[in-house]
Amino acid sequence: MARIPSAAPADRFPASGRRSRFPYLLTAILAASVVYSLRAAQVDPRRFFEGDVLANVARFVRGALPPELSREFLGLMLRPALETVQISVMGTAIAVLIGIPLGLLATSSLTWRGVLHERASRAGRWGLGFVPYALARAALSVFRSIPEYVWAFMFVRAVGLGPFPGVLAIGVAYGGMLGKVYSEILESMNPRPLETLHAAGASRLGVVLYGLVPQALPNVVAYTLYRWECAIRASAILGFVGAGGLGQQIELSMRMFQFNEVLTLLAVLFVLVAAVDFASARIRARLA
């Protein structure tokens, strides 16, 4: 409110008054990379006016309608549909188990910086604080930058086909994301209650339990629920590499050109995702 309005925009211009060449350069680089990418990605819209492509589109649409709704097929698909939910729940649970300890270690205000460590020795801060902090950050970064499909594929190799590798893939990849976000939530917390507890002589554990956890918990739970919503989508697809659930069935039906089955499975997936979104949104609304 107290800011002088005319002062803010003025400092956006360089003092010398020289025009920046930046916008032109940026536009040129972007245009060049778009042109290059169009070639590299072999984009060819004319394909859509060629006979074979049009015939394929027609074949797909005709094959998909009407969707397969026989009692037998629906009965067979019940199990994979439930499995998809189970994979998402278990995967998120394992992600939490990975995310909490690594997230705590990756929080600089808990491990080596700030009010809790004012009186720690230099060596203690580095050896017991910074080194675990850096290691945890690196592990989280590796976990989340390898896509969950790649994890799933590797786990299928390691523990065999079925839902278990799907659970592990979601657990590891989402563990990396949860840990990072948990640490960001913890670092953004108001330090005042921690300082007060610290000044009152509370131990570090006491400061964390009574100063940090009550502040951070609603955000942590809300973000975890949001990730669960993402996990149900992911678990529906991980089956493409053999990790159970609906994805495996979608892949099979697609490979056998049973497009009417594909349509039914997509509808089932839609219902599952909507149900999980609804439940999660309800709980998050109550928490906020």
Binding site: Q86, A158, F164
Partner: protein, 280 residues
């Protein structure tokens, strides 16, 4: 901050939700056959160690590096063109998914719509929303399978898959942005007698564009990750090479490709953050 106790979720509610999740967890545990004991038992850990050792050192021969480089460039191209296609789909579609541009709100206060015209516009809105829902609900990789069937193998179906799915996502987000713009400038424009199209161009779009750019850049970051795996179903990029490397047990080559994914994802994240800070 200081929240009143009455506003907190009640204890009974928290207990019910907690018990529900516990039951869900048990059911899922039993259903997925999770066996952490054997995974972290001696044999399991030994196998993991053996596998991890096989990944090192990454294959840095010229052939592997050029394959990873080509895959990374292709993945980048798929994500960039796919995201642009998504914006091209989302911009017109989002106009259909915006109630305040079609039949209600400030634009229609002065000049009331004929009930018939209103019904037609409501129909457009419903159709637009439904179309966006379909585009968004079908996951990229299923779109990729469909487009591989339609146009054949290669990066092009990957571009189409990303464009169509992300088009649905961005269309919904753009529509929400358009509905949430500050109405004061629109009212000022309307008071001067500006037409609806002018209000859209001079009142709504200038407010919405920075958010459009920001969302599009965010989805580009999502798409570079997606583009890296679409190859699993034959839609080009690094995914295809990763699929081959895992299938043929070429672990050191796999490591090189994973490093390539890491590099390209980091690059796009940085680019996107930079563009956002300059443009938005």
């Amino acid at each position: 901050m200081a929240r009143l106790p009455a506003a907190r979720p009640s204890r009974a509610w928290a207990l019910w939700v907690g018990a529900g999740f516990a039951a869900l967890l048990l059911w899922s545990w039993q259903g997925t056959g999770v066996d952490l004991a054997s995974l972290f038992g001696r044999e399991g850990l030994r196998q993991i160690a053996v596998y991890v050792r096989k990944l090192f050192p990454p294959d840095l021969s010229a052939a592997a590096l050029s394959a990873a480089g080509a895959g990374a460039v292709e993945t980048f191209a798929i994500s960039l063109i796919g995201s642009l296609l998504a914006v091209a789909i989302a911009l017109p579609m989002s106009l259909l998914a915006t109630r305040t541009l079609l039949y209600r709100g400030i634009l229609f206060e002065g000049r009331r719509l004929h009930p018939g015209a209103r019904a037609v516009r409501l129909g457009f809105y419903a159709a637009g929303k439904a179309a966006l829902n379909v585009l968004r609900t079908i996951p990229e990789i299923v779109w990729a399978l469909i487009f591989v069937f339609v146009v054949g193998l290669g990066p092009f179906p990957g571009v189409l898959a990303l464009g169509v799915h992300t088009g649905g996502v961005l269309g919904k987000l753009f529509g929400e942005v358009l509905e949430d713009v500050d109405p004061a400038p629109l009212e000022a424009l309307q008071a001067t007698g500006a037409s609806r199209v002018r209000i859209l161009i001079y009142g709504v779009l200038p407010q919405a564009l920075p958010q459009f750019v920001s969302y599009a850049l965010y989805r580009w970051e999502v798409n570079i990750r997606a583009a890296a795996v679409l190859g699993f179903v034959g839609a080009g990029g690094l995914g295809q090479r990763i699929y081959v490397a895992i299938s043929l047990f070429h672990e050191q080559e796999l490591m090189t490709l994973i490093l390539a994914i890491y590099a390209i994802v980091t690059l796009v994240d940085a680019l996107s953050a930079y563009l956002r800070s300059r443009l938005v």
